[in-house]
């Protein structure tokens, strides 16, 4: 991967390069550099397969991290291109003209995270959820347990019993010293 890093360093301004395994490395880029970098990786370096496009919600930094994972089969190596987006009104340019399969990933990110990809085919349609009227579910500020308890009724008679509390009440029925 070192030769890859040397090739890229001369052409693009990379914010960071981390090697995770001998055949997997992660690269950080800025938003403007993403498309030229992807084109260079696909056409010159041989990373022709877009494996996945996903997002990670770093809510404490108020950012989304988008990861484009590319695979080069001839040399058996992967590179993950990482890009940070602000959480407010997140949107990004679409890459569906480079890889038609990216349209599906972009639809999912739009529905689950709320990251918009203007121009991607069918990106405004409902993908997985139907009749969803709440926050995009994969965001960290969406509490799934609270939503489930508000919307769906549990079967009555369900209770949880912490074993430590049970033993404490059994051994010290008068609420004695916490042993």
């Amino acid at each position: 991967m070192q030769s890859l890093y040397d090739n890229l360093k001369s052409l693009f301004a990379l914010d960071g390069f981390e090697g995770q395994r001998p055949d997997l490395a992660f690269v950080n880029v800025s938003r403007e550099q993403l498309r030229p970098l992807l084109l260079h990786l696909r056409d010159q370096e041989g990373f022709t397969h877009l494996v996945l496009l996903t997002a990670v919600d770093w809510i404490e930094d108020e950012q989304f991290q988008l990861t484009y994972l590319l695979h080069d089969r001839a040399n058996a190596r992967d590179v993950g291109v990482r890009l940070m987006l602000p959480r407010e009104n997140a949107s990004m340019d679409s890459v569906h003209d480079l890889w038609p399969t990216a349209a599906t990933y972009q639809r999912e990110l739009r529905e689950m995270f709320g990251i918009d990809f203007p121009g991607s085919p069918r990106v405004d349609e409902d993908f997985i959820l139907e009749g969803w009227t709440d926050l995009p579910p994969y965001r960290r500020d969406f509490d799934t347990l609270e939503y489930a308890q508000d919307t769906y009724k549990d079967r009555p008679g369900r209770e949880t019993r912490d074993p430590a509390l049970h033993m404490k009440e059994k051994l010290y029925p008068d609420g004695g010293d916490n042993g």
Binding site: L50, V51, T54, P100, I128, P137, Y138
Partner: protein
């Protein structure tokens, strides 16, 4: 050549201008439940006469929000839930999750555990291919193949039950190794099962692959151009049926595949018949791989590495991507940790995500309505892994 003068013709850029009020088109809805797919997925077809001019896929009937649920569970609480992401072939989820956690936590898996893991993955592959053969023949009208292959699959599920304790959801591969060693006499019983499967396969070959109706309907259907394989993210038998020998077990060997002898199986015609043949030969190769694994496995050894206290297991910050070759293609897990006891983000990349959405919408144009089911089964999609 059929008379196509009444059919609408595509415009200069190749796309068809579909005017739904002209009375020439009909919208049909195939799904969410029909014999052409194992799981719930729908295709909204626009047909003109007998041919499909456009298909739109609809998924989401099996969505449970796994990736969100895993963020609420600790690393050791995640592994029982992970196998339910892909219903007919659950072991790959367990392996990829365990491999990703081990890589980020720096655990070393003992040698015998790797052999047992490879054994389980190959057994799962055989089960999945048997189910596929039943579905593929059933989509073209041959119901008897499904009866035979489901029986053979039941025999293999007996071996799973003997080894792991459950038929479908095994929860056997966890970070650090596997739960238990092989029981006594497992090899002899496995050999009996494999012989039963081989005899079923030869019956299936005679009845299905040498059948004139299957050959006529399946040849030429669903042609996948080898040039678009990478653009559409196609992996597994769909790519191998187009002539590209793409097999993660050979390209980036994981577990013990670098110590086993096998060659990826390819075909050249890239239609439904070629892909079915690739899967059948792959099944026979898996049977051979299981025999090799059982012969070369070390007799004694630990099956589980020592884990830290799993109730308070914190993994340092990192991210990784682990892949494996399941029966449908490349299966991968992208795991991000942030130093706490819970995974930050787990993204499951199932092979059906690319096959059943963008590729299907491209292949379904100009297909006869009665062949749509056969085409969908030949891409071997399992909808639970599309929407997790």
């Amino acid at each position: 050549m059929a008379d196509r003068s009444q059919y609408p013709s595509p415009g200069p850029d190749g796309t068809l201008d579909i005017d739904l009020s002209s009375g020439k088109y009909l919208k049909l809805w195939q799904g969410p439940n029909h014999p052409g797919i194992t799981g719930n997925m729908a295709v909204e077809l626009t047909v003109c006469g007998d041919e499909v001019v456009e298909g739109k896929t609809h998924v989401g009937y099996l969505h449970r929000g796994f990736e969100k649920l895993m963020e609420r569970r600790t690393f050791i609480q995640c592994f029982p839930i992970v196998c339910r992401i892909c219903v007919p072939e659950p072991d790959f989820n367990e392996y990829c999750y365990a491999a990703a956690v081990e890589e980020l936590a720096g655990l070393e898996v003992p040698e015998k555990a790797k052999w047992i893991r490879a054994l389980i993955l190959e057994m799962g592959r055989i089960n999945s291919y048997l189910m596929y053969l039943g579905g593929q023949a059933g989509a073209f009208g041959q119901g008897v193949i499904g009866q035979w292959t489901t029986y053979a699959r039941d025999l293999m599920l007996d071996r799973f039950e003997e080894l792991t304790g459950a038929r479908i959801y095994h929860m056997f591969i966890l970070p650090g190794g596997v739960r238990d060693d092989l029981p006594e006499g497992f090899q002899e019983r496995m050999e009996d099962t494999l012989q039963e499967i081989e005899s079923t396969l030869s019956d299936v070959y005679d009845t299905m692959f040498r059948n004139a109706v299957f050959k006529k309907r399946a040849a030429g259907l669903g042609y996948v151009d080898p040039a678009v394989i990478d653009r559409y993210g196609v992996t597994g038998p769909v790519a191998r049926g187009a002539g590209i020998a793409k097999d993660v077990r050979k390209d980036q060997p994981y577990l013990v595949y670098d110590q086993l002898d096998f060659e990826p199986v390819t075909a050249n015609e890239s239609d439904v018949y070629a892909r079915a043949d690739v899967r059948r030969r792959d099944l026979l190769m898996s049977v051979d791989l299981i025999r090799q694994i059982l012969a070369r496995m070390p007799r004694k050894g630990e099956v589980m590495a020592t884990l830290p206290n799993v109730l308070h297991w914190q993994i340092p910050r990192g991210e990784t991507y682990v892949r494996g070759e399941c029966s449908r293609g490349e299966y991968g897990y992208y795991l991000v940790t942030d130093g706490s006891g819970y995974p930050r983000r787990v993204n499951v990349r199932g092979p059906s995500y690319t096959h059943a959405m963008a590729l299907l919408e491209k292949l379904i144009v100009n297909v006869n309505i009665s062949d749509v089911a056969g085409l969908m089964v030949s891409l071997h999609t399992y909808p639970p892994e599309i929407e997790r």
